[in-house]
């Protein structure tokens, strides 16, 4: 394997507030090439915090340490805020979970997309507008002229998520972090959004970090999967091999899903073992 695009070693995120110390992420390490990496795990396992730390968007109360957090030639840990501003959106983009809260409610969605482009490219309004229009089309929005003028509350969830994607990908970043981009959507829309995402990644050859707690989805969509539990990576395995996962935690998560093809009376509930935290990193 050639030099990975992103290389993370021993990432730790600690929250200190009110004298309480919360270790949200413990010693996470991974490399990312031109691939789609899924991060799964139950709620609170540190998926989002890992993703946000990469963009340096952690809350001010977070304390981030890492041996290495290298993106291309840039040391993300030590980059200045100014440098980060240039990186964000331009080199690394982040798609957030819920379009309802992640779009500015008072700004036309088209303008929000165009703004993202103008932040990184010295272009005029009309140029940015036509770019945004093209981007809307590429996320399969049928009537971009009309949608451009809409406000976030006037678009449906699926459309909103596609707008988010358009907004985040318009600057053609090299790395996309998608934090549960589809969990607010229902199944039919989810498929559409994922295929749009797939298309764009393929076209730009970007890497993708896909955060979700839906193992089925990740297995289907990603190339590789990190399984996280309480801030720790328990397993790092190819998505296709998820069915053969060894770790009891991963198995537990898989079993807890109700399935159409396997009716059962009682769903399995994963058992958790604190000892997993001390096991050597995967």
């Amino acid at each position: 394997m050639q030099d990975p695009l992103l290389s993370v070693r021993d990432l730790n995120i600690t929250f200190r507030s009110e004298g309480r110390v919360t270790q949200a992420v413990r010693g996470v390490s991974f490399d990312l090439g031109a691939e789609k990496l899924g991060i799964v795990g139950e709620s609170g396992s540190g998926k989002s915090q890992t993703g946000r730390a990469l963009m340096r968007l952690s809350p001010p109360s977070a304390e981030i340490t890492a041996e290495r957090m290298q993106f291309g030639g840039i040391d993300l840990l030590r980059a200045s805020e100014r440098q980060m501003m240039r990186i964000r959106g331009n080199d690394i983009a982040m798609i957030l979970q819920d379009p309802k809260y992640s779009l500015n409610p008072l700004m036309k969605v088209g303008k929000q997309i165009a703004e993202a482009y103008r932040m990184h490219h010295r272009v005029g309004r009309s140029e940015a507008r036509s770019r945004a229009m093209a981007m809307l089309e590429s996320v399969h929005i049928r009537d971009p002229e009309r949608v451009y003028e809409l406000l976030p509350h006037e678009v449906s969830g699926g459309m909103g998520q596609r707008i988010m994607i358009a907004m985040m990908l318009i600057a053609e970043p090299k790395l996309i972090i998608a934090d549960e981009p589809t969990s607010a959507l229902d199944v039919t829309v989810r498929r559409q959004v994922l295929s749009v995402l797939q298309e764009l990644v393929d076209r730009a050859g970007a890497s993708l970090i896909f955060i979700s707690h839906d193992l089925n989805l990740v297995a289907d969509f990603c190339d590789r999967v990190l399984v996280m539990y309480r801030g720790r990576v328990l397993e790092n395995l190819p998505a296709a091999a998820l069915g053969q996962a060894r770790h009891p935690y991963t198995r537990g998560l898989l079993d807890s899903l109700p399935r159409l093809d396997h009716p059962c009376d009682e769903l399995a509930v994963p058992v958790r073992d604190p000892a997993w935290l001390d096991a050597p990193a995967a």
Binding site: D214, L254, E266, L267
Partner: protein, 255 residues
Amino acid sequence: MTTPNLEVSQLSIAFGQGSSRVEVVKQANFGIGKGESYGLIGESGCGKSTILRAVAGLNPDYEGALLIDGFELPRRRSKEFFRKVQMVFQDPYASLHPRKMVQNVLIEPLQIMGLDRRQERIDTILSDVGLDQSFRFRFPHELSGGQRQRIAIARALIVEPELVLLDEPTSALDVSVQAEILNLLNRLRRERGLTYLMVSHDIAVVAHMCDRVAIMKDGRILEKLTPEQLRNGAVSEAYTSDFLAASAPAVVRAG
């Protein structure tokens, strides 16, 4: 079939006035027998929650009739109604008052209904939903999402209702917690002989939980199916099969 516990007939619900009026539920008909678990499924915004809220009386402006045990419900629901029918909301983070201790959350319905043996009932219901007594004096922000949802379920069940309305009770929770809650709901139904009307957009969940399922689209009930029909893909509407296809699992389990 005996008289259904809940019968919904020609239910139509609209919001807004004049030109901005939209009908979000259109002539829905269905009935739920005693002890049955009935599922409503459909994409976001198709009117599932609206039906539940109408049944619960949170939405008094509806047309059509709602009958419980064969009697039409008055528009203003009485206390007796709330002893029979309770509801669990989708978001456990929003459905508990941030400033009320678990104990107070649970004691309030008892006070309102004038039920006796309050501490005893709380003890029982807490252990029924799988929480120990130490949770009694906690505040919501000291609880995890799954624990909150258990409290919400306990609150609904403490007055011993017959019919429980479940509005996506697990969609805000992650899969492992979802399993716990679904198991809990199933167990309680068995033990108490409850009737469920459950809303979800996850076909697998509904198929797992319900005896009968209605598929909704744009405020209309498209078709009514059994879980077996869902599993076998024996559906008549194209929309339903799209839905099914999208829900197919990707992970093929070894062994």
